[in-house]
């Protein structure tokens, strides 16, 4: 599984990417929406994008719209430090996956697996 992680909190993004990689997920980390868009425009493909909702420049919701336009297959998971529940709809009328920070890694993994219908990834499976 290949994931795109975009979050302006650099240390957080790096730590999370390392944890995900430990669980067998290939992660490309970007600290802004522009860079992430560039990568996808260059033809890189990702199964899933993990986006922070609130970022300077292009925010998570705008980013989802534009990434979705580039790659219709891509799935999305939002992260938010602003405390909202998965019932909420971010002002759009579509249901989305949204996880609150601080994260529970197991929850994120489960969400990712559900979205990509990929194999369950836990560090125990990793040699």
């Amino acid at each position: 599984m290949r994931a795109l992680l975009v979050d302006d909190e650099q240390k957080f993004a790096l730590m999370l990417s390392k944890r995900l990689e430990l669980r067998g997920i290939e992660v490309d980390v970007f600290f802004s929406g522009d860079k992430a868009l560039e990568t996808v425009e260059q033809g890189n493909r990702f199964d899933v994008a993990i986006l922070d909702v609130k970022m300077p420049g292009i925010g998570g919701i705008e980013l989802k719209r534009r990434l979705g336009a580039l790659d219709a297959q891509m799935k999305f998971v939002f992260l938010t430090g602003h405390g909202f529940n998965r019932d909420d709809t971010l002002g759009t009328h579509e249901a989305v996956d949204c996880l609150p920070k601080p994260l529970k890694i197991e929850e994120l993994i489960a969400t990712l697996n559900r979205l990509t219908e990929g194999p369950p990834g836990t560090y125990n499976d990793k040699p």
Binding site: M15, G81, T89, L103
Partner: protein
């Protein structure tokens, strides 16, 4: 009927005397309702009763004055009539004597037989004459006709004789004279052909005079009599005669007209006295005619009337007082109720603004903390991941436990910040039609197992008449969930939970969730919607559940209130608009 009777004390006894909520005191317009009530009653009574009292007193005064005037008039009229009778009585006899003297002349009158004949004729014509005599200018009696032989008697020193010389006629006072019988002497002076004068004198019985006077007596308390100018009684008095035959009343000053005055008798009783100084046309007399009437007798009718007026006054005063007390109580009660509503609204508005600012502060703090918290979480998580992979640390359970402690602490912090943020979220509200019954059933489903296990009865009563509610599903669900959670924590096994819905006017629906659990003490009741307020042990509750619920209800333009009694249970009542959009637009 009994219900009505039971309501009467509540009508009279003002409601503001009931214990009122201490926390509302600063918001009342009037602090002392007892005083307001008392002042209202006092002012109303003063303005209503004072004129009534003054009018009644003035009326009494007027009536008394007019009764006095009336009784003086009547007394005066009576005295005037009696005076005319007495004057006429005397003048008639004086005229008869004058006629006799002129007709007969001295020579014939000095004949004893002729004089006796004249006496007989006069007695027939007038009556009341005892004797008749002719007295020479020397004062010696020349001839006498009558029952006593008084011929040759000398009257020159008698006051009536002297007066007769001056005035040509005279009327004496009543006196007993030589005979010891009360009588009045009337005499006229006449001239003889030789130029000397003589006096024709008659003695009158006073009985005739007394009879004439007593015919004027009217009423029990009237007295009528004659006195001389020294106050000596000339005819008997029924009430005012003293031991020495003097009248025991103050004598009036001389007046040539009949008069009446108000006075008091010796015992202090008020009396109306009518009097007249009797003078005949040809001779003055010493008589004063007095008519005395006791005022009490004349006042009797008025006193009866006054007692009736007093009764009427007392009854009207009582009715006025009752009406004033009832009206004041009802009005002051109404003011009090309005004031209490105002105070409640103000207290609630203040609490709302307090909660809003606390919420904003909390949300700001939570947001700032959240990012470092997420970093701690990921870093610690990564460290743990590394440990779990590298075999050398995997066996070191103590190290792994320490990291789990960090992760647990971060998770707890995360819960708090999430809830804090939820308290002041500003996300849009999405409305959709919701069937309240289905939604409550969904929420109850979460707790079904727990309820069965704890033997808790859940009773839901949502009538079919409740329409679909247009509101935010997620928020409403969370409100109900929070309140049901809350109730489950408050009740012990075997208790019940009662969820009811009803319309509150055409545009609002009221959802009440009642339990018979431990209840909330009065001291806590005002604080339960404040963030971080909890009665649970430290670490067991964040104290945010109800404040979040409160925030959610506000967002749905609703209203939440709580009624509770310690050890009896708690009822939360949520009132929501049936159509949220309409409510927002208005």
């Amino acid at each position: 009927m009994m219900k009505l009777l039971n309501r009467i004390p509540a009508l009279i006894w003002p409601r503001f005397h009931q214990k009122r909520d201490e926390h509302l005191n600063p918001y009342y317009t009037f602090q002392d309702y007892g005083q307001t009530w008392g002042m209202t009653i006092f002012i109303l009574m003063s303005t209503a009763l004072l004129p009534l009292i003054v009018m009644t007193l003035i009326y009494y005064q007027l009536i008394e004055t007019s009764i006095n005037t009336e009784s003086l008039l009547r007394t005066e009229r009576l005295a005037s009539n009696a005076r005319r009778a007495v004057t006429f009585f005397l003048e008639e006899r004086l005229a008869a004597l004058t006629f006799t003297a002129n007709e007969m002349g001295y020579d014939r009158l000095s004949d004893s037989d002729r004089l006796t004949e004249v006496l007989q004729n006069l007695k027939l014509g007038f009556g009341g004459l005892t004797d008749l005599s002719v007295i020479a200018d020397t004062g010696t009696q020349v001839t006498y006709a009558g029952p006593f032989n008084l011929e040759g008697k000398d009257y020159s020193n008698q006051p009536w004789f002297m007066e007769c010389q001056q005035h040509n006629a005279c009327v004496s006072e009543v006196f007993s004279g030589y005979r010891g019988v009360p009588h009045v002497v009337v005499a006229v002076k006449s001239m003889r052909p030789d130029g000397r004068f003589y006096v024709l004198r008659a003695t009158l019985e006073t009985e005739r005079l007394i009879q004439a006077l007593s015919s004027f007596k009217t009423g029990e308390h009237a007295d009528i009599f004659l006195v001389n100018r020294d106050g000596l009684l000339q005819t008997p008095s029924q009430f005012y005669g003293g031991d020495d035959h003097h009248v025991n009343l103050t004598l009036p000053a001389y007046s040539d007209r009949t008069k009446a005055v108000m006075s008091t008798d010796r015992s202090g009783q008020p009396v109306a006295i009518g009097y007249a100084f009797i003078d005949t046309e040809i001779a003055p007399t010493a008589f004063i005619l007095m008519v005395v009437k006791q005022k009490a007798g004349m006042m009797k009718v008025w006193l009866d009337l006054r007692s009736r007026i007093n009764w009427l006054f007392a009854i009207s005063a009582i009715i006025i007082i009752i009406v004033i007390i009832l009206t004041s109580t009802v009005l002051v009660n109404k003011i009090f109720q309005a004031d209490r509503q105002k105070a409640e609204t103000m207290a609630m508005a203040e609490r709302n603004s307090q909660l809003a600012s606390i919420g904003q502060l909390a949300a700001g703090v939570a947001h700032e903390i959240n990012n470092p918290l997420a970093l701690i979480n990921e870093t610690a998580g990564y460290v743990k991941d590394l440990f779990m992979i590298k075999q050398q640390y995997k066996e070191d359970t103590e190290l792994v436990e320490h990291i789990d402690t960090i992760l647990d602490a971060v998770e707890r912090c995360g819960t708090i910040t999430r809830q804090l943020l939820g308290f002041a979220r500003h996300f849009d509200v999405q409305t959709q039609p919701i069937n309240l019954e289905d939604m409550v059933a969904d929420v109850i489903n979460f707790h079904k197992k727990e309820a069965e296990y704890r033997n808790i009865t859940i009773h839901v009563d949502i009538p079919e008449t409740i329409p679909l509610i247009e509101t935010d599903r997620g928020k409403l669900q969370q409100i109900v969930l929070n309140l049901v959670n809350n109730a489950f924590q408050a009740i012990s096994n075997g208790c019940f939970l009662d969820i009811q819905a009803a319309m509150d006017g055409p545009e609002h629906v009221r959802l009440s969730i009642r339990d018979n659990g431990c209840g909330i003490s009065e001291a806590h009741l005002n604080k339960i919607f404040e963030p971080f307020f909890t009665t649970k042990k430290e670490g067991q509750g964040t104290g945010l559940g109800l404040s979040i619920t409160y925030g959610l209800v506000q967002k749905l333009h609703g209203n939440i209130r709580v009624e509770s009694k310690a050890e009896e249970g708690t009822t939360f009542v949520v009132t929501l608009p049936v159509q949220l959009k309409k409510e927002i637009q208005s």
